[in-house]
């Protein structure tokens, strides 16, 4: 019994084993910026971040074209998560945090005085590393919790619920038990529930902070499919330690590195180029596994 399941898992793992990361990256069409009417996208200009006196991130300027998937790779502690948390203003949640620079959504600075920070977070959704469904709510309530939290009225909640779960690739698994608790799902299902929850408020941008790091290969595959599908309608930024994942899902890849000081963005390019012809020696060392 166990052997057949093991075989299945093995098959799944071998199926996604690429010959080379660049080939994987080339297997899907790179999206050309500006071809979609999704707003002008997201830009960051000279972003720095501090935790107290600790300078965690220095001078990161990155553009995310509307409707693309960008992967942020780099060793632990190089500021990738900190960086995406400055984008939707979750960085300021940490006591002693400070930042510098501009984050522009559709050309407007999200840190401009008088900006409604809750509106910003509605437009820029986030999926966390650890699945965190709300324990006091059912599956259905979890998906729609964003609407309730932000006090948004939706006309047809049932349709929205189905649509979001469908897009997160979870509908067929939970449609008969929407009243069950979110905690009763498996880890991978919980993470897809969190993605569905983030989708329900219809964000323009979705930030994903290592969404698959705690998941098995099957669930990872499902979520990667979901990311590819979602990129038709939104801009996605995904932090990942898995370079094959970066190659599989992203159009662009940015490499972050800290040389002991604050984390920096070393290089950004279309994903296939990062994995085939990186410009920077440090990037090459990292993507070929000679470092870090």
């Amino acid at each position: 019994m166990t052997t057949s399941r093991d075989n299945e898992k093995e098959k799944m793992e071998t199926a996604v084993q690429p010959n080379s990361l660049a080939e994987v990256a080339q297997s899907h069409q790179v999206k050309v910026p500006g071809t979609r009417a999704l707003g002008t996208g997201l830009e960051t200009r000279g972003v720095h971040a501090w935790f107290g006196k600790h300078h965690a991130l220095a001078n990161v300027s990155l553009d995310f074209a509307a409707g693309t998937v960008t992967a942020l790779i780099g060793p632990s502690g190089c500021g990738k998560s900190t960086y995406i948390r400055t984008i939707n203003r979750m960085h300021e949640f940490i006591p002693g945090a400070a930042m510098a620079g501009e984050v522009l959504l559709d050309g407007k600075d999200v840190y401009a005085p008088g900006t409604d920070v809750t509106k910003i977070r509605l437009q820029i959704g986030m999926v966390f590393q650890k699945p965190n469904p709300f324990p006091s709510m059912t599956i259905g309530e979890n998906v729609l919790s964003g609407l309730k939290l932000a006090q948004i009225k939706a006309d047809n909640k049932d349709d929205l619920l189905e649509e979001c779960l469908e897009r997160a690739g979870l509908w067929s698994e939970v449609k008969d038990r929407l009243g069950a608790h979110g905690g009763s799902l498996s880890g991978g299902q919980q993470q897809r529930l969190c993605i569905a929850r983030a989708l329900a408020v219809r964000p323009q941008v979705l930030l994903m902070d290592e969404p698959c790091s705690a998941l098995d290969p099957g669930s990872t595959l499902r979520i990667e499919e979901t990311i590819r599908q979602l990129s038709d309608t939104m801009t996605i930024v995904i932090v990942t330690h898995n370079m094959q994942q970066a190659a599989r899902v992203s159009d662009y890849t940015a490499f972050f590195l800290s040389d002991g000081g604050p984390g920096q963005m070393i290089e950004v390019a279309p994903t296939s180029e990062i994995f085939s012809r990186p410009q920077d020696q440090r990037t090459e060392n990292y993507v070929t596994g000679r470092f870090g």
Binding site: M90, T118, L122, G125, K130, M137, S145, A150
Partner: protein, 349 residues
């Protein structure tokens, strides 16, 4: 693969029959030692039996285990039996109190007790005269008003300490901790001198509830704070990242997630005040007839009824007091179980 072989489920980690027999032997040996020692030495009384039995049992099991499995197992067995002794010693007084209350209180319990008050009876009357309806309603009203006042204040204090974490977090936490040590009579005197004498100038149930509130707030606030600190920060971040304001996130996610713990906090608060006597004596006056109005006139309560009945001193009145105690214990028990039930029903998926 190997579906053909039949396997018998066994539990090799459990004690074998021989070991269990040995354990029983040790138990009786310890019993024997305790009886002989009490018979031979000047040690006397129930307590001596108990102490000698425990010590002999702990010693004998460790010796047996040392022979069977070496010194590590012997130490393990010794600590195990010490822990068991500790548990039994803790349970004995509680069980003894409950047993005494039930034994002495049951003869005084009758149907009339719950339908009559003491307006036309004195504690020394025969037991079928009068009852403690006024005391039950009084205690319930006192506790309910104290709850209405202290639950919001206590939980809001806890929220200030855990969610807002403002400038005054340190001083407030210190004050709440200091307040939890306030003797109940001080709370009673405070209300007496600050509100009853200068303002209302008359006994009422509400004055009693106010003093109980002072006693209840620190218990609720401290326990709630601990419970809210256990809620993972992930949930707060998830709520905020979904576009919720801090208030919406706390109300929709943090508080529901902490619900069963908050109910426990409230139960502990009620447990703190349900039997309070001193402030009640000072502030509610202690009436002998049912007074449903908390804002005017003296109001009876179970602790007051018990105190008054004991003071009367006749056999009837003392039976009344025990019956009142039993009713108070039962009331608290009902409150606890219902609150527990309400608090955990939804969490247990």
């Amino acid at each position: 693969m190997s579906n053909t072989t039949t396997a018998i489920p066994t539990t090799p980690w459990k004690a074998s029959r021989r070991e269990r027999a040995l354990d029983t032997l040790v138990f009786f040996a310890a019993l024997f030692v305790s009886f002989t020692l009490v018979a031979v030495t000047p040690l006397k009384g129930k307590l001596a039996y108990l102490v000698i039995f425990f010590l002999a049992y702990a010693l004998l099991t460790s010796i047996f285990k040392a022979q069977q499995r070496g010194s590590a197992a012997a130490k393990d067995a010794l600590v195990n039996s010490l822990v068991a002794i500790g548990a039994v010693i803790t349970v004995i007084p509680v069980a003894s109190i409950l047993a005494t209350v039930v034994k002495n209180g049951l003869p005084g319990i009758s149907f009339g007790l719950f339908t009559h008050d003491m307006a036309l009876a004195t504690p020394t009357d025969p037991l079928n005269n009068g009852g403690l309806l006024h005391a039950i309603t009084g205690t319930i009203i006192l506790v309910v008003f104290a709850l209405i006042l202290s639950v919001p204040i206590g939980i809001l204090t806890a929220l200030y300490l855990t969610e807002i974490k403002g400038k005054f977090t340190g001083p407030i936490r210190f004050l709440v901790q200091a307040m939890s040590g306030v003797p109940s009579i001080v709370a009673g005197l405070f209300i007496l001198s600050a509100i009853l004498y200068p303002i209302t100038k008359s006994y009422s149930g509400f004055m009693g509830s106010l003093s109980l509130t002072i006693l209840m707030i620190p218990t609720i606030a401290r326990t709630s704070e601990e419970v809210l600190n256990l809620i993972p920060n992930d949930l707060r971040e998830a709520g905020t990242a979904l576009g919720g304001t801090q208030w919406r996130t706390v109300a929709m996610i943090v508080l529901p997630a902490a619900k069963s713990g908050l109910v426990t906090a409230i139960i502990l608060g009620v447990a703190r005040i349900a039997g309070e006597t001193a402030p009640i004596l000072l502030l509610t006056g202690g009436g002998d007839k049912v007074n449903p109005n908390s804002f005017s006139g003296p109001m009876g309560s179970l602790p007051y009824y018990i105190w008054k009945s004991f003071n009367a001193g006749s056999p009837e009145s003392i039976t009344r007091a025990w019956a009142g105690l039993l009713v108070l214990v039962g009331l608290v028990l009902i409150l606890f179980t219902s609150a527990r039930f309400l608090g955990t029903r939804k969490v247990a998926k």
